[in-house]
């Protein structure tokens, strides 16, 4: 009998917790924000959120909770479209944020609402190689040499993969190569790809833990994390001819903040990114702060390099999507038979 009562109590308790979890409402004195972001920014936002929460509570006396959601940038955008109530979106690609504008979740001209066109920081794609760089990989043309194993995620399913592909394409174009040259180059590059993981962290595991491949194309900040965790077995190579300028724009989601009455706090939250404190944190996490005077102070960890904007390879992100990544477009043609 005792055991049976125990089971009953446990069952009721579990059911109770479950129901409470789904039903419990929000405390009116507590402001809650949901920030929907992309994968590698976990550590960055944790620190930024703590700092902003302290600042906000000191100024207003209200309790603030910031929830974070991370995942592939495109997947995250789709979740918001499908009803995830994000107050702010901080996604990897302009096209993912603008997809929300098309669904009328964001106001027209959302880029104009925050300083620097709503771009608090930027980043780029760099190479990670085995310690000592045994294959002598210095620049993009080295990646297509025979016998070089490349690790990069699938551009179709990963923001990191998209940027890596575009960086590779752009590296040919800025040297004056034609589009045909660029296509031939990326085809050769993807023939050297050994594993096409679905996401950025999957590629990092394949390269760093499984020790497959000679070079890993990844976000600059991820490269630093990867090298630090590998304890001397990996190192970063900044491609000599430069790389792509990755621009993760930020925006508050009008449709959500209007209903939740969180316009003001969402706006202050994003403006905080441009303050000295915010920009310093961004730099410490190896993202490049948009304010040049702050960036200048961190040149030791964010060395100067040529960064070509997406405009060098297409007019805008819509064109990037249709030209490279749509079904049957240039990326698919690499694998066409």
């Amino acid at each position: 009998m005792v055991a049976r009562w125990g089971t009953l109590v446990a069952a009721v308790a579990i059911a109770g917790i479950g129901i409470w979890y789904f039903v419990a409402g929000d405390d009116p004195n507590r402001v809650t924000l949901l920030n929907v972001s992309y994968d590698p920014t976990r550590e960055l936002w944790r620190e930024l959120n703590d700092a902003f929460i302290a600042d906000y509570e000191a100024r207003t006396g209200k309790k603030l909770t910031i929830r974070q959601s991370h995942g592939g940038s495109g997947t995250q955008a789709r979740s918001v479209m499908d009803g995830l109530r994000a107050d702010v979106v901080t996604l990897a690609l302009w096209s993912d944020t603008d997809a929300l504008r098309r669904k009328e979740l964001l106001a027209q001209g959302w880029e104009q609402r925050l300083p620097f066109n709503s771009l608090p920081y930027y980043s780029t794609i760099v190479f990670v190689v085995r310690s000592g760089n045994p294959k002598g990989i210095r620049d993009w043309p080295d990646l297509v040499k025979p016998g070089i194993g490349v690790i990069t995620p699938n551009p179709k399913t990963s923001g990191n993969g998209k940027l890596s592909y575009l960086a590779a394409w752009g590296s040919v174009r800025i040297r004056g190569g034609s589009e045909d040259d660029a296509q031939a180059y990326v085809k050769a590059l993807y023939e050297n790809v050994l594993v096409l993981d679905a996401g950025a962290r999957g590629s990092a595991v394949t390269f760093a833990k499984r020790r497959i491949g000679d070079v890993h194309l990844t976000w600059e900040n991820e490269a630093h994390l990867e090298v630090r965790e590998a304890k001397g077995t990996l190192e970063i190579v900044y491609p000599v001819s430069g790389s792509i300028k990755a621009e993760p724009f930020v925006a508050w989601v009008d449709a959500v903040v209007e209903r939740k009455k969180t316009q003001q706090v969402a706006k202050e939250y994003l403006e905080f990114l441009y303050t000295d404190a915010g920009q310093e944190m961004i730099a410490r996490h190896h993202y490049r702060p948009i304010r040049s005077e702050i960036l200048a102070r961190h040149r030791n960890r964010l060395p100067e390099m040529e960064l070509y904007p997406v405009a060098t390879i297409a007019h805008n992100w819509d064109e990037v999507q249709t030209k490279f990544f749509a079904a049957g477009a240039l990326f698919d043609q690499i694998y066409a038979r």
Binding site: T75, R78, V205, R210, I212
Partner: protein, 274 residues
């Protein structure tokens, strides 16, 4: 008042109603929505989305690997169920419980673990890869993880059947001079067929839909190790919902057909056995 209900068991209307309600809510309506979404495509768009060299290669791989895994599961599962039912040995209960692990473990974890074991620097990989056996980032790796995720189905469907077999039939056969192989082939196997087929079908169906473990271990190279669900996710990333559901519909139709065939086989073997 004469009752219209001629059934012996009461509550038929209520229980059927409840069944249909939950079946609709959980299975039929989501599937219907899938077909509805795909039906907004024109025929030629549908065909372009689902029938290219690359999608055909992916279907073939998905079905081929699932079939191989289900066959492996049938063999290993039969053996496991036999050992667990017929013999007594220390820690038997523990081994029995271990069979359910693939149900409980997130499949992505399984994928990561298999990749780390069979990668060239892994415990198994360091010996197998020099022999030319690539157990990670290859087609073989897909079969391996699918075998893992489907393992419990055959074991769990066969165990009760084996337990309910009457020993006296086997004893009678033995006393009439049948060899061990003859007993197994002509006495035991016929009663196991239906259960074996059910377990096989379940493991097969489970493998067709598996995504989480495969993407971590397969390498996802087009034409070689790219399964159909990867293509679906790729289309979703383009916000091409309709094309993605079109691919899903094709997979569903294939699966329905195969499951129907297996069910037919099972029914046939049941009537044959009795």
């Amino acid at each position: 008042m004469s009752s219209v209900n001629q059934r012996v068991l009461p509550g038929f209307g209520l229980s059927l109603g409840t069944t249909l309600f939950f079946l609709s809510l959980i299975v039929l309506i989501p599937l219907g929505a899938c077909f509805l979404k795909a039906s907004t495509l024109t025929w030629s768009d549908f065909a372009d989305a689902v029938w290219t060299d690359r999608t055909r290669a992916a279907y073939l791989l998905t079905f081929g690997a699932s079939l191989a895994a289900a066959v492996l599961n049938a063999v290993i599962g039969l053996l496991l169920a036999w050992v667990l039912v017929r013999y007594d040995f220390p820690l038997k209960r523990l081994f029995d419980a271990l069979v359910d692990i693939p149900f409980a473990l997130p499949t992505a974890v399984a994928g990561l673990v298999y990749a780390s074991l069979y990668a060239p620097n892994g415990w198994f990989g360091q010996f197998l890869v020099p022999l030319g056996i690539e157990g990670a980032y290859s087609r073989l790796s897909i079969v391996l993880v699918l075998t893992f995720t489907g393992l419990p189905f055959v074991v769990r469907t066969l165990q009760p059947v084996l337990e309910s077999l009457d020993a006296d039939v086997e004893e009678a056969a033995a006393s009439l001079g049948a060899s061990r192989w003859q007993i197994f082939r002509w006495i035991i196997l016929p009663s196991l067929w239906p259960g074996l087929l059910t377990g096989f079908a379940l493991a097969f169906a489970r493998a067709l839909g598996e995504y989480g473990s495969v993407i971590f271990v397969a390498g996802n190279m087009p034409y070689r190790t790219e399964i159909a669900p990867v293509l679906i996710v790729a289309r979703l990333e383009e916000f091409a919902y309709r094309e993605a559901t079109a691919l899903a519909v094709v997979l569903l139709l294939f699966s329905f057909t195969l499951l129907a065939v297996i069910n037919g086989l099972e029914r046939w073997s049941r009537s044959y056995a009795s």
